[in-house]
Amino acid sequence: MTKTGSSPPELATTEAEDEPPSVSSLTRRGYKRTNATRRQIADALSLGAAELIARAQQRDEKAPDYMSAEALVSFIRRADRAGDSKTRDALIRELVERCTPFFRGQFRGCNEEDHKDLQGAVIATLIDDILDPGDRGDFMQARFWLYLKRKTISAWNELTKNAADTESLDAAVSGDDGEEGTTRLDLQADGRLTLEELAMVSDGLAKLSLHIRRAFILRYAFEMKIGADNPADDPPDEETLARHFGCSGRTIRNWLKEAEAQLAGFREK
């Protein structure tokens, strides 16, 4: 992986229209609500609190008065700004309940306790972002479910980071320090493992030490180079596994051998 100059993102939020005057615009990084969300907001602007809450509880996406999660966030923020805590809390409850089905099937690799902790942490972050007086929550008003997916991955990332801090990188790994052999897993022609192939050894991956699993994924799914035995010998603009993990290329090779040995066993099963 090499560094080059940065350029502006070209990610579009699928919308080109301006916000109608009755709907306050998002201010962060040019994010825009979808046309459907804008319509839903404009249609509900004049509703009284009770009608708004009743409409928010319509969960049938095909119903003409359906209100998306993005529109809900907009009305939660409006109620919060107006000091209308009853409406704000009713809408937040509705939004959080809508998130519950999304969380089923997330937090892979977690035990039950971690699953609960992470789900609670993601919801807390969601609430913090919604109630932030600035524009931190603008992305979720443009793409709510992507926002939630991203926060879910980040919550897992934090958990693994904390676990990695307590896991010694010098954990004994058997094997010699010879050259990296070819993996005993079936590789594609370009030598890269696909997500589907990784999923086939899912249980094996879960049993690997954290740093070994992550090194394995970076090597075989992202083709990151192993690096020199002394990471300082690697070109400064090249990210290598040795540099990323702060150890020698020899250690990385041993990790990979260990991973391959364990995963080959799972594959054979």
């Binding site: 560094k3 940065s6 579009a12 990084r29 107006a82 977690c110 990332n157 992550r214």
Partner: protein, 215 residues
Amino acid sequence: MMTQNNEPTLDDVLNEFVAEYEKPTAEALESWAARYPQFRNELIDFAVSWTEQLVLPPAPELSAEEEKLLVDRAMSHVQNVVYKRDEASAAQTEARSISSLTGEAKRAGMNAQEFAKACGLDLVLVTKLNNRQIRPLSIPARLVGQIARLVGASVDGVSAYLAGPPQPLAGRSFLARGKPQSAEQHSFADAVRASSLSEAEKARWLDEAAGLDEG
């Protein structure tokens, strides 16, 4: 198309990374690490975590009770966030208690007429609020919140001002022989009925004020 007003935060970059790609790939990671070299390590870690979230074994499912408990905890978190925010806001505004609503509006860059319009009221209503001639319990919470937002004060600060004693009427009071009398207080609904607002505007406010202290 995204515009770039400021330097993106890591949060922005990760949000847009997930929005741009359906799944993590070597090409996606290389492209984004090159675009945002300042977040290269974070992007690498995130891409691995994303991969893990696609290939690791599913987590045990939570029971309906556990899911409900998490929703309830979320609502407690809302109250905590709001409480902390209000406390911080109260501490900020404690130093300057509100001496007049129109004065605060002026400080926020609005004359009385503009302030009235932003509140959805007429000038007479704003004057009555300013002179505390409206019984505080009859004022809709949304209006109090709106005023607080407009003048950059806390809801509690505005409520405290509105709950103060009515102010003596200005004007020709200097001709009065006796001691100044406090102005009489009316309900918000009565003041709305007597206002110059349109019938639709009156109906909206009366709807919001319904059930509040009518006197």
